[in-house]
Each structure stands twice: as C-alpha cells, then as structure tokens.
Symmetry: C2
Subunit: 362 residues, 2 copies
C-alpha cells in the first residue's frame, strides 16, 4: 500500500492506494470519529462494493443512500436525497459521510458534507480511475446547474481517501481510458519524466496491471496534491490543472453531457492545446505529435467532433470574437512537461486550432 | 452613523448602523469589487426599498431576484431561483450578491453566495430588528430541511452589513417585538448593565425612537461580534447565543412555523431558562421575574402554549427521558447578565419548568 499526504495544514489528509485497501477495516475506522456513518453510492456501484464497505463498519449506526447513476443526476435535487436520509435517520454533526463511487458521487457527497449542519466529516472511496486521480484530491465539491457544470459547491476536504485499485476491474474500458486522460495531464503540466514513463507503460495501464497502475495513480495524486497544497482555493497555479479543460468543456457543452465522457473531452482539449502550442512555435511538431500518440495509446479520441467549427467553440466558451484577447487565458505548453497559463497567444492561430478538426497538426 | 467591526482576521467586516445609511452610495460601493451585482429580496420588501438600493448601484450590471416571503420558503428550492438568475444573466465569480430583507432573505442569499462557483462576495442589508441584531452578524447562512431548521448551510462572512434604522418604520409591531427578544438576550448572556439599560429604555425602543434604537442595535451587534470573534465556528462560547433557543425551537417545532415567530419562541424560552435557573437556586425570584417583566415590556409572550406539556418539549427536543442528562446541555443563568452552558441541572426541576405552563415562577 502507498500513502500520499495532501498537505493543507490542519485540513491535511492521507490518500491510501493499493490493491485490497478496502479489505482492511482499521484504515477506514481510524478516520471515523463519531458513532454514525452514512454511505452514499449509486445504483451501479452498490451491487458491486457496498456490502464490502458496510462490512468494515460494524458496530456503528450505518445508513445508506443510493443515488441514480450519471452526470445528469449531479444536481441539488439529487443531493437532497442525502439530506433526507441524514434527517430521517437522526444523524447529528458528528456523523461521517462516505462517498463510494465515481466523481459524481464524490462531488455530490462532498458538497452535502460541506453543507449538512454547516459542515460534517466525509471520506472518499473513489472507484474510477478519473475520480481516483482527480476529483478525490483537492476538496472541490459541488453539483451542476442546468446552464453550467460545477457551478454550485464548496471547498471541503475529506478525512481520508481510500483507493482500492481492485475496484477498477469492474470499470468499463471506456471509463478506464477517460481516467488515463487525466493521468497524462499531470505529465504534461510539469513532469516530463512521468510523461515519458507513461509512453513506456501505457499498454500495461490500459490492461490494469497492478504494479504500474498503483504507481501511476500514486504519482498522479502526488502531482495534484502538490499543486493543491500550493493553491487550495485556485487563485493561481491550480488553474494549470485545467489543461485541456477549456476546449474540453466547450465540447461537452455543445455535444451535451453524454456523447463524450469528461476524460475524452479533456483528451481532445489537450491535443488542441498541443496543436496551438506548436502553431505558436513553443513546441516542436514531434513533441506535439507525441501528445496525440500517447492519448491514442490510451484508446482516447484526439480530434474534436466534425460538427464543431471555431464559432461553436467560441460560443460555448461564452466568448465574443472581439474580446477574445481581453477575456481568455489558456493553458498551453512551453514544452512537453511544462505548461503555462497565458493570454499571450495569437488569435489567428487560435482560430486555426479551433477550425482544424481532423487536421490538427498534433 | 455608528460602525461596529466584526474581527475575524482576513474575513473581518464592518457593520454600518444609522438612520439613512441607505442614502449614501459610497458606503455600499466601496465594498463591491466587480462590475456585477445581484440584489436578492422578497415580495414584501421589494416595493418598499428595492428601488432605493438600485439607485445606489448605477453603472454596474445590476440584476434582481424577488423571493416569496416567509420562513416556509427558506429552502434549497427557493435558493435555486438565485442560481437561475445568476446563470441566466451571466454572472461570474467576481459578482456580489446583496441580501435586502429579513433573516430568511439574508440566510438564503448568504448560502447562495457561499455556494455559487464555490464562494462569491455578498453584502447584507437587513431590514428587520431581528436580522439587524442577529442573523446579519456572524456568517451563519443556510436553509431549512422539512425535518429541521437551518440544517443545510455554510459559514460565509459578508463584505459589510448596512443597517438603516429607517427601514424599521415599515416593520409590523409584532416583528419589532420579536427582534427585541434577541436584544434582551445579549443583556442576559453577559451584560447586566445593558439589561438594566433596556429596563429603562424599552418603551422608547418599542416606539422606534431613533437614538436609543441605534444604540441598542449597535450594542447588540457588538455583543454578538465579540462572541463570534472568539468562536467563529461555534465550538464553544458561541453556543451561549442559543440562550432560550432550545426551549424556543421545541415550541416552533410543535406549533409549526408561523404560530409563533422565532423571536417570540425565544422570549418564552428565555423565560423558561430564567425559571429553571431560579428553581436551581442560581438566581433569585426577583431576578427571574425581572426577565419576564422586561420581555412583557417589549410586548412579547412569556408562557409556553397551554397545549404543550413536558413530554411535548422532550419529544420536540428529540430526547428520551432516560438519557436527558447524557445528551442535553442548557444555557442557564448564574445571574442576570451571566449565562452558562451546563449539563449540571436537576432533571426533576427541568420537568417542573417544562410542565409549568402559566405557573412559571419567573
């Protein structure tokens, strides 16, 4: 088992990573301080892992809430089911919420924990690659608004995160790939050696081989933990974590949640960022293509949908053509493994990237 | 104009108090840092004061949301109207929410501000005595759950609070009295001289005379600001602010929101606390009766509803008779002007207080 500590002063917490950490009750129990817990999961994960978690909690008042599955249920309305359960079962402010599932379950449960009685403890047990390397680290919680993702939420840190890589064996291949997109992101942000390690080991990761998988998840958590510790409330460097997300969100918005899962949209967005970085003369064609190649190796899409032109991107990014340079900051690559937040890009080159479709030079 | 500073380090903020502070645009404008604002108010307050506030905001993108009036609308569902407005009008994370109204508007708007994009600025313009002396100080925000008051919320401090005592001229007398109950509370907690000042000046306060009213509101805000500064997240001394609230909440729960307004229930609760403190031998009969007398002077009820016996109180307080002493801590009076949080009360005497009805010895 590996342990990564997210260093946030009195809000610091450990991430336990390994195959089988969910078989060890003492790991979980040491982070539960009252005698009440509520496990929040969804209808897909419940039949797979709920009983295993409940078995770790004997002797406590332990209730469960099972949410519907899917990003479209990441709403205030769904969150009310958690409050209804907590109130109906008489939970007080010493209770602990346990989020068992992917990013949607984690984000809703975290926000419920931030809000119930103005803040109770919670624990994350992420069961997807994406939530293991991304949403379980950093304390961002929240739900979507019909007009925008993650618009309503709170910063609320968990007591601990338990990542059992065995839970990935039941994850659809498409979800594995989507999570690997975020893993690649950490290499691109500030860690060229990790990027090159990924180039050597991507096949094994796609095949869920335990040793490289544990290493990659640990390394990704460390990258994110390092960035979050520098900038908990996202006033500066944490924005680097949005590499690929500006373009990716535009794709998700235009295509509707569902056609692309989040990691796929981010993969395309990273490839577009590589393309623009090359057009700017910041990275070589070879470097730009290495980004696309690694994403392809992970079975990810790298080209924007043919239906989307430059205007579609700009409107989804809520940008007026006349004010692009005033209002847009992008995360681009100075090299593979060194990303920057910048408004110093040429608008004409951005237009080329946005309209390139399958002709992206990366 | 008087200014009280709530001292919370980097979250410190000023409370401006006086007749006419809403006529001075620069007070408000210096606390707005972006170029977008949204004023949230309700259908009763909007026709009275909304235009006056909008007049202070010229040159900014200024939108409004008008909520239904009443405690029964203090829900997540109502809060969504604020998010809908913010999203529809394209507000970003530099926007400022302005809460114009009583405690319900302030609490909902504050929680919306805590949650929109994980935290935006907000300003309180409380227009009732109760919200001026209580809910606008301390950063508690939130909404009710069907099974419990204020169960869902956040701690979120405003940029400033503007208290214009002129707005009280349109407040129903019953609401004035309810607010004065909380003013009396501050005297009882730790300020005997203020309690005695109130005994001398209650008639003038009920008549809304400007000079004593401004003094009383300022003094109450100072009391609360002092307590909150010591204990922002209510882990200790802040609980003293709940004097009268344990009994009061039981009355509100049993009678349904509406039969008694909050301040009335708290007035009865404080009188019951005085009664029990006297039965315990901590305060004299004369002192206990002085509490009831001052509340009567403010036109407040002091006896619990005849329909409620000891069992009704205990069940509303979610207490099993067998575990009262294990789970209940009460705020009682060692003297008038010195309250304490204690589990050192005699259960038999508590039973007498809960079943005394109109025979309360205070």
């Amino acid at each position: 088992m590996e342990v990564v500590t997210v260093d946030l002063g009195e809000r610091s917490y450990p991430i336990y990573i390994g195959g089988g950490v969910l078989s060890s009750p003492q790991l979980l129990r040491r982070h539960i301080h009252g005698n009440q817990v509520m496990v929040v999961t969804n209808e897909v994960v419940a039949p797979l892992y709920l009983q295993q978690v409940l078995d770790l909690l004997s002797g406590l008042q332990c209730d469960t809430v099972i949410l519907p599955d899917g990003e479209q249920h990441k709403t205030l309305h769904t969150m009310e089911k958690i409050f209804d359960g907590l109130m109906a079962k008489g939970h007080n402010r010493t209770t602990t919420l346990i989020a068992l599932g992917g990013g949607v379950v984690g984000d809703i449960t975290g926000f419920a924990a931030a809000s119930f009685q103005r803040g109770i403890n919670f624990i994350q047990i992420p069961t997807t690659v994406l939530s293991q390397v991304d949403s379980s680290v950093g304390g961002k919680t929240g739900v979507n608004h019909a007009l925008g993702k993650n618009m309503i939420g709170a910063f609320h840190q968990p007591q601990c995160v338990l990542i059992d890589t065995h839970t990935l064996s039941t994850l659809p291949a498409r979800e594995v790939a989507a999570g690997l997109a975020e893993v690649v992101k950490y290499g691109l942000i500030d860690d060229a050696p990790f990027f090159h390690w990924l180039e050597q080991n991507m096949k094994e990761l796609v095949a869920l081989e335990s040793t490289p998988l544990t290493y990659a998840i640990k390394h990704a958590c460390e990258c994110k933990a390092r960035v979050v510790a520098q900038d908990e409330k996202e006033s500066g460097v944490r924005a680097l974590l949005n590499l690929g997300h500006t373009f990716g969100h535009a794709i998700e918005t235009k295509c509707g949640y569902g056609e692309y899962v989040h990691g796929e949209a981010v993969a395309i967005g990273m490839n577009m960022a590589a393309d623009l970085s090359h057009r700017m003369g910041w990275i070589s064609l070879k470097e730009a293509r290495s980004v696309g190649n690694l994403l392809l190796e992970a079975d990810l899409p790298i080209y924007p949908p043919e239906s989307m032109g430059a205007d579609d991107f700009l409107s989804a990014m809520a940008l007026d053509k006349k004010t692009i340079n005033k209002s847009l900051r992008l995360i681009l690559m100075k090299q593979v493994g060194q990303s920057v937040i910048t408004d110093q890009f040429e608008e004409a080159l951005l237009q080329q990237t946005l309209s390139a479709g399958k002709s992206l030079c990366s």
